[in-house]
């Protein structure tokens, strides 16, 4: 039988925590990427390590979107889901993850559970799922695994991988090889046992699910550029190595930590070191110490860690210390949603410190940008003698995607430590009046001795409380941002350069926004989008771009008041974070739509929102014309 050729499918694997659904999905995604499919994966992570089993809140798993073209986001509703128990599906249904016709491959072991209560829960759920329009197949997955291993809790995931590889017509040997890679370094017995499970799953799907046999052809590639497949946090780690930075100083925090885990493994081969500090403050202070001593360092954290680091960021701004700070954003405030997605730290990053603390802020939109912006951040930090914050988010952190393998070169690396003699006539802060830029002496340079201080200081780094000195040094630090902006080009417009609605995004939403905008454009709507990477300073030319659209709005994953909510008036409405900045900076009445559901934005939801706005813009416009 020939497989049915499809252009795209969204697959989910959902289980209790600890059952290996994520490893199964990552391996399945890697196989897809290696076969040339467009791939995007996103992990479904409960906030607790061991949430109660068989509960909706304990749903742990992964979504893999595979396509014949480049895939840039998680997509809308899933096409096929494998569930290790029925309860975990409830939370996915509540999150709108499925549609009528979604194929559900459900382990039926719970139908014959010793507990009659569990039997009933299972039976009720199956009825309910079918009422929702899900196509439920009750399968003896657990039982089939028992024929191969004693405890299917360990290994069921590879059985499922076998099932999926058969359903999506993936080469069986390739699957076996991928398992060998996944378990590299483990005992031969473990690898062969997992391969046996995989083979059993493959056969199981062929026997029991022969009606589901799909093929997703590879993408047509214009070149043979080699590719790599990683998640965003690994890309950050690779960026740190490629940048020539030698030190990452961190404190464990979700969802940033895996970047440091990765580095701890491979960094020493690059001569680098991961310092696990005693707290977030020590982590950044340690990095500042290294940077001050001429080895620009990086600290990687998330929202609550950023909050603790603010005083030290102020020191780095005030004393003009190059430093790279990566903030893998999560839901806030306070402990918030540790494993969920939010773009809620833009304003606190921009304005978190007391006084005026201008700094460079970049936002990665894609996984390859998690790499390239870290490299750029190190260069900007040193050229502009300032901390640079790179914002990513939980969506990029755990999302896996194939991307063009970067060509490493020496220009990416930090320059060698300069220990030449400093010209004694040059002050420690020899600010250029026009640009605010200056060179810095590095400890060890003869005649460069100065005392770096967080106190207001003169160009000689002498403490000064004089009015003019403070005004002047503050102005010089601020001017550096204007200098940087003068080197930037206006953002590229996705779509026509004029129209009814311009959508502005930042961060990981780029794929979903562009997909929604493209759909609307196909329907004849005059809509375009721009996506910002530089948030401080902003990319130039925004006012000019905005002026060619009837309405401008942002789509963000942070909180803003719904204009129609109780108590909300145009005067008290709180806007989404980028929208707030754009309103200040351009004096354009930039609107926004943003939510804090904690999950990645789906293109269909964005499209619905934009369609409503377009309808409103057009009706407002025709009313004006009348």
């Amino acid at each position: 039988m020939e497989p049915q050729v499809i252009q795209e499918h969204i697959v989910e694997i959902v289980s209790d925590s600890g059952e290996g659904a994520q490893k199964c999905g990552q391996t399945f995604g890697n196989i897809g990427a290696k076969l040339g499919n467009g791939v995007w994966t996103v992990e479904i992570i409960p906030a607790e390590i061991q949430p109660p089993a068989r509960t909706p809140s304990g749903a742990s798993g992964i979504r893999i979107r595979l396509g014949s073209t480049k895939v840039t986001n998680v997509g809308n509703e899933g096409d096929l889901v494998v569930a290790f128990n029925e309860q975990v599906l409830y939370s996915r249904i509540a999150n709108g993850a499925f549609k009528e016709g979604t194929i559900v491959l459900l382990d039926n072991r719970w139908a014959s559970d010793p507990s009659t209560e569990i039997q009933k829960m299972y039976a009720d759920a199956v009825v309910e799922f079918r009422q929702h329009g899900l196509v439920v197949h009750e399968l003896s997955i657990h039982e089939a695994c028992l024929k191969v291993v004693k405890d299917p809790r360990k290994g069921k995931n590879m059985f499922v991988l076998g099932m999926l590889c058969r359903i999506y017509n993936r080469d069986q040997d390739m699957g076996r090889n991928e398992i060998a890679l996944t378990f590299k370094g483990k005992a031969e017995k473990i690898i062969s046992s997992n391969q046996e499970l995989f083979d059993a799953g493959y056969k199981f799907a062929a026997d029991e699910l022969s009606e589901y046999f799909f093929d997703i052809p590879p993408q047509e590639k214009s070149d043979d550029r080699p590719m790599v497949v990683t998640n965003g946090n690994t890309a950050i780690g690779l960026g740190v190595m490629a940048s020539g930075m030698e030190l990452v100083s961190m404190y464990p925090i979700t969802p940033a930590t895996s970047a440091s885990h990765y580095l701890a493994d491979v960094f020493p081969a690059c001569g680098g070191f991961v310092h696990q500090a005693e707290d977030e403050i020590a982590a950044i202070a340690f990095a500042i110490g290294s940077s001050y001593a001429g080895k620009t360092a990086c600290t990687i954290t998330s929202g609550p860690g950023m909050a603790l680091k603010t005083e030290s960021i102020g020191l780095a701004v005030m004393a003009e210390i190059p430093l790279v700070i990566v903030n893998v954003q999560r839901g806030g405030p306070s402990t918030g949603l540790p494993t969920k997605i939010e773009q809620g730290d833009l304003l606190s990053t921009l304005y978190g410190e007391p006084g005026d603390a201008p700094k460079i802020i970049l936002a990665a939109a894609t996984i390859p940008e998690c790499f390239s912006l870290v490299v750029l951040a190190r260069q900007l930090a040193e050229s502009f003698r300032t901390p640079v914050v790179v914002l990513t988010d939980a969506n990029l952190a755990t999302g896996v995607q194939p991307w063009d393998r970067p060509d490493l070169n020496r220009d990416m690396l930090a320059p060698p430590l300069d220990q030449s003699e400093w010209d004694k006539s040059v002050p420690a802060y020899d600010w250029d009046d026009k640009t605010g830029l200056s060179q810095r002496p590095i400890p060890g340079m003869p005649n460069g001795e100065y005392v770096l201080t967080g106190l207001s200081h003169t160009k000689f780094s002498k403490v000064s409380y004089e009015a003019e000195d403070n005004q002047k040094s503050t102005a010089h630090r601020s001017r550096k941002l204007a200098t940087l902006q003068s080197t930037l080009t206006p953002p590229k417009i996705h779509g026509e350069s004029s129209g009814d609605l311009l959508v502005i995004g930042w961060g990981s939403t780029i794929g979903a926004i562009e997909e929604a905008v493209d759909d609307l454009r196909k329907k004849g709507e005059k809509i375009s989008t721009i996506h910002l990477r530089f948030l401080s300073p902003l990319e130039p030319g925004l006012g000019e771009i905005f002026s060619n659209f009837k309405k401008v709005m942002t789509i963000e994953v942070n909180y803003s008041d719904d204009p129609d909510a109780p108590m909300i008036t145009p005067e008290n409405r709180r806007y989404a974070q980028l929208a707030s900045i754009l309103r200040i900076q351009t004096l354009v009445d930039v609107d926004c739509w943003s939510v804090v559901y904690g999950h990645p934005l789906q293109p269909a939801i964005i499209e619905e929102v934009l369609q409503q706005r377009l309808t409103k813009v057009k009706s407002d416009n025709s009313a004006e014309e009348e």
Partner: protein, 320 residues
């Protein structure tokens, strides 16, 4: 041969440093403040060691004592309150060849920076920590510090402080990897010099608590000790701080103490709280404890080629 170096002429080119080469801005501490003595001692130690000024970095937090870097002509880093130690550890982490000193106070180190105190001692990086302990907050004007004696009247405790003073010696000795713990008074210049010199020469984190005069806010505390040195207990040992013969006479109370003996060191340290006997000298020293900076600095001299090769190898693992 015969005692004449073949390259003797090069010696003429060598730099010779005087005290002036280490002196920075004029110190702005109050008259009679003990900090002046510590500063002068640091100048002398660097001069005697003939360390090029560009090779030393003085790192501080916030407080009176933390102004010290400004009064040095070396490199300096005057950071944020409580964070001198992580800043210093960071400096040392990838620049192990730099000579790192930390100037911190009882508020900076034992209160707002207490977490870092524990961990920096445990890291045992090669640096010299000078704790200027005047038992009061000076810069912010007379608030109770962790080492303020009980009942001391301050602006935050006008009826007298409630708590017994923290004992920094027992705490530090209790930290795993403590490798050099000494205590000294600022008003005995030869002893101060010998103590800081020994601390500076020790490879590892040298913790020196300097009991320091603050004539403006708590003149009485140190006056009492100056007038009646019987409350001080001089620790003597051939492995300890060298004490000149004439100097010993200034200390009516003294005892032999082997600085490798941790149990006795803890007893002596505890006596400061329980009996009011203040030890002066080297309480503990262990040269065999590994320095974290030896680990953190690994690879700091790696070539660009090797960095690129290693990164490419890392990328290979993700190639498709």
């Amino acid at each position: 041969m015969f005692g004449i170096k073949a390259d003797w002429s090069l010696d003429i080119q060598e730099r010779y440093f005087t005290i002036d080469d280490y002196e920075g801005n004029e110190a702005r501490w109050c008259d009679g403040c003990g900090d002046h003595a510590v500063l002068a001692t640091a100048h002398r130690i660097l001069r005697d060691a003939q360390l090029p000024p560009e090779k030393s970095v003085f790192i501080s937090g916030i407080g009176c004592s933390s102004r010290m870097p400004h009064y040095m002509a070396t490199y300096g880093l005057h950071g944020t309150h409580g964070r001198a130690l992580p800043l210093a550890c960071g400096v040392k982490s990838r620049r192990p060849e730099l000579d790192v000193w930390v100037a911190t106070g009882d508020g900076d180190c034992f209160s707002i920076g207490a977490g870092h105190w524990i961990h920096a001692v445990r890291y045992n990086m090669d640096m010299t920590i000078l704790i200027f302990d005047n038992q009061i907050y000076g810069l912010t004007k007379k608030q109770t510090s962790p080492t303020s004696p009980i009942d001391l009247k301050t602006n935050t405790h006008p009826e007298g402080s409630f708590l017994d003073a923290l004992n920094p010696l027992t705490v530090t000795l209790g930290i795993t990897n403590a490798s050099f713990v000494a205590q000294v008074i600022d008003w005995n210049p030869p002893l101060l010099y010998e103590t800081l010199k020994a601390a500076h020469e020790h490879k590892g984190t040298s913790f020196v608590r300097i009991i320091q005069r603050c004539p403006v806010f708590v003149d009485g505390i140190t006056k009492e000790l100056q007038n009646d040195s019987s409350k001080l207990l001089l620790l003597k040992h051939h492995d300890g701080i060298p004490v000149a013969a004439g100097l010993e006479r200034l200390f009516p109370e003294s005892r032999e103490h082997d600085p490798s003996d941790m149990t006795t060191a803890l007893d002596i340290a505890r006596d400061e709280t329980t009996k009011g006997i203040i030890p002066v000298g080297l309480l503990y020293k262990n040269e065999d404890i590994p320095c974290y900076s030896d680990l953190s600095a690994l690879g700091h001299d790696i070539t660009d080629e090797d960095k690129i090769a290693a990164t490419n190898k890392a990328l290979d693992a993700f190639a498709i």
